[in-house]
Symmetry: C2
Subunit: 235 residues, 2 copies
């Protein structure tokens, strides 16, 4: 089977329902899927695994797809191997990565997705599709045993990418400054993914989708804009 | 000697020179000091240790204080023990903490400061005055061997604290949401320190100083404002 992956900047656009703008994408990604495994470990706002799973189930069940939370399986490794497809929700990337590493699931998940099981990630769930989580915006509320993630794509993502605000008087670093600092220490390309955009992987083809361009950061290069629909290929 | 510590939210206010607003504070903190050790490891924007040290020296030398970069000593542990006083500049907290831990300097620095050697921190340099670095805003561009910091004060700081912007259409987490997520995993009080504020430690007395109130986050409590001049004491 060929890879089918969607890594979205956000789950929810301003003024819309949860996952609303992704409905057509999900219909295609999860065609012929009757049940997905939901990975609730990022726990946005500290929501419980059960409540978060119910929130996702509310959307999927309208489409005739059952949802099981990965936390409900006594053998989560087996659950990943047996799953038809996956959805990893947003929240705190440190929490998500720590949990996946602590349970020894990161590699198994990558293997299942690379073998062709459809994967949807939003925000933190998209970050773990990159080479490592080191371009997350999240606060390090827990200490994961490592920052390596699934590497489903050969670059890193910065979800919820924010452009510098002209005339802003706040002296904290801009997103662009932070990503440039990342490149003083790392050589991995970074895709600044604005809300309303997602990365689509179909087989070996990786494209930028959604309503905006993306900002591309390559080490030692001036950042530039890549139009929606374009291939994400750097080398 | 009694403790003399200043932990500032930022080094630079909008439209001002580097360290300008802190001049009176520094005059008091470094009275009778002829030389300080500057800790340049946070490297804002990837600036070199030498360039960053020159930048700090430019300010201190106008006040008749010599500046030596901690990176220039062949025995940095000895340099900390021999120093009269310290200044740790802002930048990336992960980089700063990794370097201090890798060189085995975190505890020695805390010991020197707790013994009464004056300490000024800005931004990342203030974060390391807290119990741990887990309420930083910075990007995890390197993997430190741990998140523990000096614990000069019995709480954590969130420098460059930003209030939620009403009506903002960006769906990334607000600073307040991030700190609440921290409290789902940790019990440490957090001081949201706005630009223009600093924390002053004089002996056993810890106060909030500067032009704004600070936002205080205690686990399981509604966040509240603390007026400038007030004691920072939670229990």
């Amino acid at each position: 089977m060929q890879k089918k992956i969607v890594l979205a900047s956000t789950s929810t656009l301003y003024g819309e329902e949860y996952l609303e703008y992704l409905a057509p994408v999900m219909a295609d990604l999860f065609a012929n899927i009757s049940e997905i495994v939901f990975i609730p470990f990022a726990r946005p706002g500290g929501i419980s695994h059960d409540d978060y799973t119910r929130r996702a189930a509310g959307v999927f069940e309208q489409k005739g797809i059952r949802v099981k939370g990965l936390h409900t399986f006594s053998d989560p490794l087996r659950a990943i191997r047996d799953a038809q497809a996956f959805f990893t929700g947003g929240g705190n990337t440190f929490l998500l990565v720590k949990q996946l590493h602590d349970l020894g699931l990161m590699d198994a998940l990558a293997e299942a997705v690379n073998a062709g099981k459809p994967y949807l990630g939003c925000s933190a769930g998209s970050n773990i599709g990159g080479v490592n989580m080191q371009t997350t915006n999240d606060m390090p509320i827990v200490y994961p045993p490592g920052f390596k993630t699934m590497g489903l794509v050969p670059f890193n993502l910065n979800p919820h990418y924010l452009d510098p605000v002209p005339g802003l008087e706040h002296m904290g670093e801009t997103r662009e400054t932070r990503i440039r600092e990342f490149h003083t220490q790392n050589n991995i390309p970074v895709v600044g993914l604005r809300e309303g955009n997602w990365i689509a992987v179909n087989g070996e083809t990786i494209t930028l989708e959604g309503k905006h361009s993306a900002r591309i950061f390559l080490p030692g290069r001036t950042p530039y804009e890549l139009a929606t629909g374009a291939l994400l290929k750097f080398s």
